[in-house]
């Protein structure tokens, strides 16, 4: 290890089913530096890093790791050369414990037996380093998504990586957790590790990256030193055009009407306690907190997913008891879940069916019969209004759309259902910059039409950009309420606590 570690990618080409998604990409990731890899979904970032990690074989080009040109890179040889990747989607073993997951695949052994004390010690050490208190014996599947990601980061950190690829690691983390992660990234950089950091949050680029590479449609559209590039330049390179970022409407708009959704001292045992919260028509209220702070549970309880153990819930002034989502939908409430693929989408079914599902009963042509024509008409209506990019064919399977466009279809569900309250949980997690702005725009338009919107999120940028009012939660309780111009990154960070 005399010469500094170096990872070089030269002339990488890759096609899927006859469509080339990488057209000869060059990339340098020197040791002791953080390379931010940016680009919209589908620009080829994931394909590129999967080639580096040995998951895909390139059609042409070379990957050189530590001076060694690797012809046939497999996941195993990539590992042997110190390449580690943290996936955006969880790649853990949900039924195994936290400690077991951290040592997964590299068990400390004596003969054929696993040395459990080493497994536990390793786990404790790396979690201490990260400053996270997790039960080592808890099955990973029982943890919230954010903490599962922490376990994955811990797993890669404990496994001396020379090149660490992080695929949107902070998408699910709060400001504090993000800071903590950055601390680690910096420490690894000082130790000479090469880091490839994929993100959609441009603020992070300035804070953590040394170099920036932007991919667009399979080509490197921009490369340079992070300090010398400004935000607009990077965004333009990613999108290939200028996009206006959605701005919160000017100072606190007076919303006088009765709240459409009101929590009165509401509690759900083990999740949140004594929550009082109003959402008025035309208002976007952000419920901001770290993962596990109870924000998503609050939103879910207004959709009949958790029974209140105390307090009351009012919809348009009337106290309601919601037994299940069907009740909530009838009461005029819609919900966009955090995990789109697992909880929201019927990927193999058509876009029209996906959009119409909650409205089927009201769309009937008589008796039990459903009108295909009305379903297609509903899709056509929202296809244009939401700027969904697709073939505009109502029978196209949802799974063939990009993530951002899938999210728009799912948003269209509640537009078609004419919901008066919309609950959004982490609405732009894993959605790229361009589509993110369009989703924000759609949310603002909804509010302008008089829908009351409650956004449960752990993304402070989202709160700053989107919310008329921000309610901050920590450990299941409301800690602050911020209005209009008081909603700043700094205030949010202060209020959410350490």
């Amino acid at each position: 290890m005399t010469a500094p570690f170096q990872l070089q990618v030269r002339g990488i080409r890759k096609a899927f089913g006859g469509v080339e998604v990488l057209h000869g990409v060059d990339l340098d990731a020197p040791g002791g530096a953080v390379l931010a890899l940016l680009g919209e979904n589908g620009a080829g970032k994931s394909t590129l890093v999967k080639i580096i990690a040995g998951d895909y074989q390139p059609d042409a080009g070379t990957v050189t790791i530590g001076g060694e040109e690797l012809a046939a890179l497999t996941p195993l040889t990539a590992r042997e050369h110190g390449v580690r990747m943290i996936f955006q989607e969880l790649a853990d073993a949900p039924t195994l414990t936290v400690a077991e997951n951290i040592s997964l695949g590299r068990w400390p052994k004596r003969g054929p037996f696993i040395r459990w004390e080493v497994v536990r010690r390793r786990a404790r050490e790396v979690l201490d380093q990260l400053g996270v208190a997790l039960d080592l014996d808890a099955p990973v599947g029982s943890l919230p998504v954010g903490e599962r990601q922490v376990v994955e980061i811990a797993r890669a950190l404990s496994d001396q990586a020379r090149c660490l690829i992080l695929d949107e690691p902070t998408a699910a983390l709060s400001a504090q957790e993000t800071e903590r992660l950055f601390g680690f990234v910096r420490r690894l950089r000082e130790q000479g590790t090469s880091l490839i950091y994929i993100t959609h949050r441009l603020d992070e680029v300035r804070e953590i990256a040394d170099r920036v590479a932007v991919l667009r449609d399979g080509d490197v559209a921009l490369e340079g030193n992070a300090a010398e590039l400004d935000r607009a330049e990077i965004v333009a390179a990613m999108v290939g055009r200028d996009i206006g970022e959605v701005k919160r409407p000017a100072p606190p708009r007076a919303v006088a009407a009765e709240p459409v959704l009101r929590f009165r001292g509401a509690s759900v045992r083990g999740a949140f306690d004594d929550v009082a919260l109003d959402v008025r028509p035309g208002e976007v209220v952000a419920l901001y907190g770290k993962l596990g702070s109870g924000t998503s549970e609050v939103a879910e309880s207004a959709f009949g997913l958790h029974a209140l153990s105390g307090g009351e819930l009012e919809v348009s002034g009337r106290t309601v008891k919601l037994r299940d989502p069907a009740d909530a939908i009838t009461a005029g409430i819609g919900l966009l879940p955090a995990d789109r693929q697992r909880e929201g989408a019927f990927l193999v079914r058509s876009v029209a069916e996906n959009l119409a599902a909650p409205s089927w009963w009201s769309m009937r042509a008589g008796g039990l019969f459903l009108s295909d024509r009305r379903e297609a008409a509903a899709y056509a209506r929202w296809h244009d209004a939401l700027r969904i990019r697709s073939r505009n064919d109502p029978s196209q399977p949802l799974g063939t759309l990009s993530g951002g466009n899938q999210q728009k279809v799912l948003l269209g569900r509640w537009l078609e259902r004419r919901s008066r309250v919309l609950l959004l949980i982490e609405p732009t997690r894993g959605v790229d910059v361009g589509a993110r702005q369009e989703i924000y725009r759609a949310i603002r338009e909804l509010a302008a039409d008089g829908v009351g919107v409650l956004v449960a999120t752990s993304d402070y940028e989202e709160v700053v950009q989107l919310a008329d009012r921000a309610v901050v939660m920590a450990r299941g309780r409301i800690t602050a309420e911020l209005d209009g111009d008081d909603i700043t990154t700094q205030r949010l960070t202060e209020e959410v606590g350490g």
Binding site: F16, P75, Q88, L335, F346, V348, E353, W360, F369
Partner: protein, 341 residues
């Protein structure tokens, strides 16, 4: 191996098409031409190929009466395969159909012997509803996996049938009309019932809220619930339908044989699953059609009929059916992988 994220390659491949007006939609969409070809096309080709082969090999294959034989042979399985398709589309299985047919038949013969045909029919339908209720309750209320649930009821109701019949075949006279009459064009009544059931389920699955909901449940049960579908209730209805049509099939079967045998339905669940899966219903749920199942049934029936005409030992027919099921399931996996990548 790391589980490859679903957004990775799919998003990578779909992107060029989704950013701008798509020049050529790759992959899943890329089947734009291929996806226009109905899913049943390979089955139709297989059916025609089998038809030509058997026509050349046997002088008795290609004629109207033999076609009616094929359809009659497919009728019982078909009446049950229709609700089975609905269930599989919702990601559910009913393996208890074999012993269900036996049980309902035995109940029919046993009760009819004492209280007359009409009461017997009512008892048989009630027996079918009982099976459906037990299955539905265990799956939707208790939350047991449908395969295990119906494996358990498969065993239990086979045993119950033998208990009632005391292990004997129960004869039944005066009830042969349903199974053997030929109201017009010499077409046996069971074939007509089969056709009506298929059309009924085609309409149910294609044009009604219930059918659409079943597809949604199979495609993603969590998302279905979050879309306000009462998933438990719908699955329960599916099992009730299955039980009801098992009873109908049992009546036809008893009528054809003028007796209720304790072996009547043995192995029927295998034929049903083979036909449904061969017809393109995905084991992962969310996909499948009645038309597919119909062709699946016809392929199996033609194969059995042809092999019989060629005097192939019936044990070999079992081998052929098992092979067909293995092929169909492999094909399903292959297709799943193709649509994912």
């Amino acid at each position: 191996m790391t589980p490859v994220s679903t957004t990775g390659p799919a998003a990578g491949a779909a992107a060029p098409g989704s950013e701008a007006p798509p020049p050529a939609q790759p992959k899943a969409g890329g089947g734009s031409l291929l996806s226009r070809v109905p899913d049943v096309t390979p089955l139709v080709v297989l059916l025609v190929a089998l038809g030509i082969f058997f026509s050349i090999q046997s002088p008795f294959f290609f004629n109207y009466d033999n076609f009616l034989n094929v359809l009659t042979a497919a009728a019982i399985t078909g009446i049950i395969a229709a609700p089975a398709t609905l269930l599989l589309v919702a990601g559910q299985f009913d393996l208890s159909v074999g012993s269900g047919l036996t049980f309902c038949g035995v109940v029919m013969a046993y009760v009819a012997d004492k209280d007359g045909i009409l009461v017997g029919i009512i008892a048989a339908v009630a027996a079918g509803l009982v099976i459906g209720t037990v299955n539905g309750f265990l799956v939707t209320v208790v939350g047991v996996n449908p395969l295990i649930t119906t494996l358990a009821t498969l065993a239990a109701f086979a045993g119950l049938a033998s208990v009632i019949a005391d292990g004997q075949t129960l004869p039944l006279t005066g009830f042969s009309g349903l199974g053997t009459s030929r109201p017009f064009f010499n077409i046996p009544l069971p074939v007509i019932i089969f056709a009506v059931v298929v059309i009924g389920f085609y309409v149910l699955m294609r044009y009604t809220v219930i059918g659409r909901s079943m597809y949604a449940i199979g495609a993603n049960p969590v998302a279905a619930r979050l879309s306000g579908l009462r998933t438990g209730r719908l699955i329960f209805i599916g099992f009730l339908l299955s039980g009801t049509f098992v009873a109908l099939a049992a009546l036809v079967n008893v009528s054809q044989l003028s007796a209720a045998s304790t072996q009547a339905g043995t192995g029927l669940e295998l034929s049903v699953v083979t036909a449904v899966v061969l017809g393109g219903a995905s084991l992962a749920g969310g996909r499948g059609t009645i038309i597919g199942t119909l062709f699946g049934l016809l392929v199996i029936a033609v194969l059995n009929n042809g092999l019989t005409l060629l005097s192939v030992n019936s044990f070999w027919q079992d081998v052929a059916r098992g092979t067909l099921l293995a092929l169909a399931v492999s094909f399903d996996q292959l297709r799943l992988r193709l649509t994912r990548e």
